[in-house]
């Protein structure tokens, strides 16, 4: 999974969000190391919708108190599964790295 896809999915996993809010959230989640530029962000959102990992929320089904013309996205069941798989893969990679580092120190 592309790193920015991972961060986008992570951002919308808790609550539906729109483009600008995703960008801010990703920057915060990554400690400022991942900066999603507009074309990459909206292009990736389209790709994730196409993959059926995200879905766009229809205007009449938006979260309460939110209006305006922003397009809101929420994670799908398939997206959540993909995110869980990627998180597990990263976790196992981190475990291997820790084991190797510990073995190197010993």
């Amino acid at each position: 999974m592309k790193p920015h896809w991972f961060f986008i999915l992570l951002s919308v996993s808790a609550a539906p969000r729109y483009g600008t809010a995703i960008q801010d959230d990703v920057r915060e989640l990554s400690g400022g190391s991942v900066r999603l530029w507009p074309a990459t962000l909206y292009g990736s959102l389209e790709e994730l919708v196409e993959q059926k990992w995200l879905e766009e929320i229809a205007e009449d089904k938006r979260p309460e108190g939110i209006s305006g013309r922003e397009r809101f996205y929420r994670i799908t069941r398939a997206g959540r599964l993909a995110l869980e798989r990627e998180a597990a893969r990263l976790e196992s990679l981190a475990r291997v790295a820790r084991t190797r580092l510990a073995a190197g120190r010993a």
Binding site: T20, W37, P38, A39, T40, Y42, G43, E46, V49
Partner: protein, 213 residues
Amino acid sequence: MSWARSYHLALHLLPAGLRRKHGPAMEALFARELQRARERGRLDGVLTGAAGVWDVIRRGAYEQLRAGWGHDAAGERHDHAPSEWWNIHAHEPQPAGADLGGPHMQQYTTRQLLRRHAVSFAIAFVALTALMLALFARKQVPELSARGATAGTIAEVLLLAVPFIAAMTIPMAVLIAVLRDFTRFRADGTLAAARREHGGVARRSRRVGARRW
């Protein structure tokens, strides 16, 4: 030209579907980023503007490749069903003048051709110019720095070198764009189908050449 205007123009490198759907949101987000960067300083503003435009160029190239892999501008996949390419009902009695199979010649409008060429040319031109400018900078910047030139002077020298570099890269970009487009025509069967028509390839070449100039 302002960064906002440059960004607006660069958006034309993106597929029409993506631009129509998200173009205004991208411009608004870019304006916000630019505003924040300018508050941090002038250099930050310039770097953010350039990075934003570069992001669109890069995405445009990526979307072009994606389209080549079978996705359209809005990201929908176009799997060409066999029936689109081969007449699967060929064993049945055919009416007079029926298409008896073989790849169909895809009919591009002049506008589509022009757009394809413009995108290919822009990508090739930007890539070649950036590469040659980087080579020029690699050679000149240390020399200028050694002579005590300021950052402003160095930037000016690089900027003045652009027209000379462009004089070389424009013909190269034209050649690359034409080669790329004809490679794609060949890949999607358009060229093979055109060969079967009287004057098909020549007609297509004329449209490619004439419309560019």
